[in-house]
Symmetry: C2
Subunit: 409 residues, 2 copies
Amino acid sequence: MIDHTHDPAALSWVAAANDPATDFPLQNLPFCRFRERGSLAPWRIGVGIGDRILDLAGWGIDDLNALMGRPRAERVALRHRLFDALKAGAPEIPLLLQAQAEFALPCRIGDYTDFYTGIHHARAVGRLFRPDNPLLPNYQWVPIGYHGRSSSIVVSGTPIRRPRGQVKPPDADGPVFQPSARIDCELELGLFVGPGNALGQPFSIDEADDHAFGLTLLNDWSARDIQPWEYQPLGPFLAKNFGTTISPWIVTMEALEPFRLPFTRPPEDPQPLPYLDSPTHRAGAAYDIALEVWLQTTAMAAPTRLSRSNLRHAYWSLAQMLTHHASNGCNLQPGDLLGTGTISGPAPEEAGSLLELTAGGRQPVTLANGEQRTFLRDGDQLGLRAFAEKPGFRRLGFGPCDGVITAAV
Amino acid sequence: MIDHTHDPAALSWVAAANDPATDFPLQNLPFCRFRERGSLAPWRIGVGIGDRILDLAGWGIDDLNALMGRPRAERVALRHRLFDALKAGAPEIPLLLQAQAEFALPCRIGDYTDFYTGIHHARAVGRLFRPDNPLLPNYQWVPIGYHGRSSSIVVSGTPIRRPRGQVKPPDADGPVFQPSARIDCELELGLFVGPGNALGQPFSIDEADDHAFGLTLLNDWSARDIQPWEYQPLGPFLAKNFGTTISPWIVTMEALEPFRLPFTRPPEDPQPLPYLDSPTHRAGAAYDIALEVWLQTTAMAAPTRLSRSNLRHAYWSLAQMLTHHASNGCNLQPGDLLGTGTISGPAPEEAGSLLELTAGGRQPVTLANGEQRTFLRDGDQLGLRAFAEKPGFRRLGFGPCDGVITAAV
């Protein structure tokens, strides 16, 4: 529903929210969990506005999972109340500078599932392993996904320790246990689940939006030398679960409403089965959200952009991810996190992982300062960024999703 | 440590605990979470003794996750205190009859991982898909595991709704979405994690026992017609996450101490890499725990046994599961659950799944009453049982792990 909270002319009494370059204008209002940096105060739920945070403790909101569990209409009503409290002319109230805050994971993530909706990523990775048959026969029928590890999801800024693991050199008889030499990023968005469903009770594709709370940036760190040896037949495990970074901010689906796009498939492709299809879904289940990968090595004074892509390239929609996940009766719960999988664009330079950008590690990328990289080195800081922009609307950003690689223990 | 709490001559003042056939003699003392059946009282932590439950509310224990997080020495000390309170001669205290109780999941299960340590199962299933190469090259080097779904883990007695899902008939161009026709059980034990480790801080194989709290029975319900279509390349997903049943009881590792066995590999097999091996581990990391599968159809007055196996057939130990899982720095947390995978014995009739017992659904099993089954029908009640027994010790049981299949919605 596009209403006055998306009016690009609406201004805030928080000056920085009116800066055209801010991630957090009055039209965004993303959630976070925060406290004063260095304090031992309890974590609180907040809303980002310009360079500040509105503390929701006084609003009776101290648990984002509880809010996620409420019906969509209540989330819309809260958005309107927040908008009214922060718009120009409303009485000013105390806010905390984001620069003075530290952030935690925004909610309790009961289960984390990672999908594989980036078809250009699936094709590019498949081509490295199966040149003649890059896309498996199920890919265009099933929204492929797998369960990830919840405990090792960390908030932006948390260092990522280089993992050790079993690596099998092609010419060796057996594997060796050693630090991974092929640490990679994966450019994803993560969808936080709203109310969800009871065990054994699926929902329809047209109900899916009720269960979508909001989006965060997500970096699915991957150890590319551990992955091929361990992943058959049950999928990735230790190659992934040493750490997953998300941004501190959840941009709500209500804020992203203006950036919907029709969901279409090339006519020559298999069309979605009826449980994953509807006229409403076709009309607007895709989203236009720009995605970027940035790298700063220890030799750089500022990060350099490695790649850019867009969520519109996803082969399966957020609503299809939700509907398929619950289609067998699996219960989704408030605060569960669904990763999109790596969203690479169609062009090689739009890839969302180093695996793709370097053709499996065979062609190093040359950085702005002349350095080269295949995979990440200790000290490298990898950052994801995302924003939605469109003529007639304010640009909305997602905040940072950063992590630095530290040496193996 | 085998101490006086394993003395087979020790008796309890609870008469039923002295019955040789009980699952819960004084030497067992398993944990559960319970309340009076039909009440709305808060769930409480209890200990099973004979046909009764000791309520631990008066012992200051109201959260099993907190207890799991304590050092092993405290768990041993608690076992001694419970033993002393329930042994013959100690003053009698009020207990609840198990028949008057209802049970919940014993703790909050943050993350659930399912391993694949049953080599006879892996070979038998592999043979169905790859007759010439049943065991993949990594199997004897890597303890294969994958992340499962926490939200759909239910306690024994919870009905299991037959899932719908995408099924691809071999001769069809595309899949159909329909109720699964191949619902199967998987005979497993589940290991509850004790204190665990911080992110980025692995532990050694000789520290693993400190992080093992206890075992429960686990049925990893599987939809065998959904699984082959969806599982490439990221592993099982909707074929598994519609429900996982565990028994209400956690039998502690302290109770199972007398049932340790040496952990050995055939000398012609690859031996474990150094991070998964030690003299202490070789001396006693396996366990002698008998496992059984029982089925009761709606035409039967009592269940019939389908299969029996033993945890000693696992190719990887519980300590290796823990150590490998954390070897890349992945953080294990109190209450996390690690399934062993299906533990089939070496003989065909010792298989822990219908998939194996029926040669992939091609050879129905004939039940005691003349009925036949390939996979489970609506109304079938499937139960797992386990016990440890050995001359010179009391027999310890695990309680029931039951579920009935209900019709698809």
